[in-house]
Subunit: 105 residues, 2 copies
DNA sequence: TTCATGCGCAACCAAACAGTTGCGCATGGC
DNA sequence: GCCATGCGCAACTGTTTGGTTGCGCATGAA
């Protein structure tokens, strides 16, 4: 299982989000291909892809001498879950506050 | 308007998420108070709160010699929106792929 | 007025990070 | 077999970042 915290760290970087978006929109791609669009080295992209993969946000498959990376959108569930939980906590606190104000009336 | 990218950076740090959760659950608090729970300096907490505030995730209010910080949960909308967009892109690509496969049949 | 509390600002430090260059290895086309 | 392509690994660099300590200022209580 991948640490949810890794997902948060992974999406923190703009370049990484961009790579992830590109994979979602255009489908599987290689580090070399992606490096063409963005204006950075293949190595830099490869590092980002490794981080995305470690966070469970991308899957790699070696085909001949190429390594194709594909996005794994379900990995963002962890972030959605966290946001939903915070929202629940917030609402819960407001409700408790309101009811305690009612008690005073 | 706050840069959405700031929100991504803000939630990337575990301590920051923890502070944000605490504010959502327990309501407004000061840097000194929060520093007690977490095991770091008031200064460190103050920096985190400044980052959260800059990202639009927290609002501060000075009361006497205290500065109370409150969570702003709506600020997470930007993240939710991004995730939803990526999901749409992903589904759209899959649909296009399926239809192009149909054309071959 | 005096004193303790709480805060903000600045300097500093070690670790993490995004990015680069350089090299060697494997795979596919000629 | 030979060469180009694509990749992974390693070392290095500048910048960002989470954290600390120290100081001075303002506010509330005695």
């Amino acid at each position: 299982m991948t640490d949810p915290s890794d997902v948060f760290a992974a999406i923190a970087d703009g370049t990484r989000r961009q790579i992830f978006e590109t994979l979602a929109i255009s489908g599987p791609a290689t580090a070399t291909g992606l490096a063409g669009d963005l204006n950075i080295t293949r190595q830099a992209v490869a590092k980002h892809l490794a981080i995305l993969a470690a966070a469970g946000m991308a899957n790699s498959e070696r085909i001949g001498r190429e390594t194709r990376f594909e996005a794994e959108p379900t990995s963002l569930k962890a972030v959605e879950t966290w946001i939903a939980q915070v929202d629940r906590d917030w609402q819960h606190r407001l409700a408790a506050l309101a009811s305690s104000l009612d008690d005073l009336a």
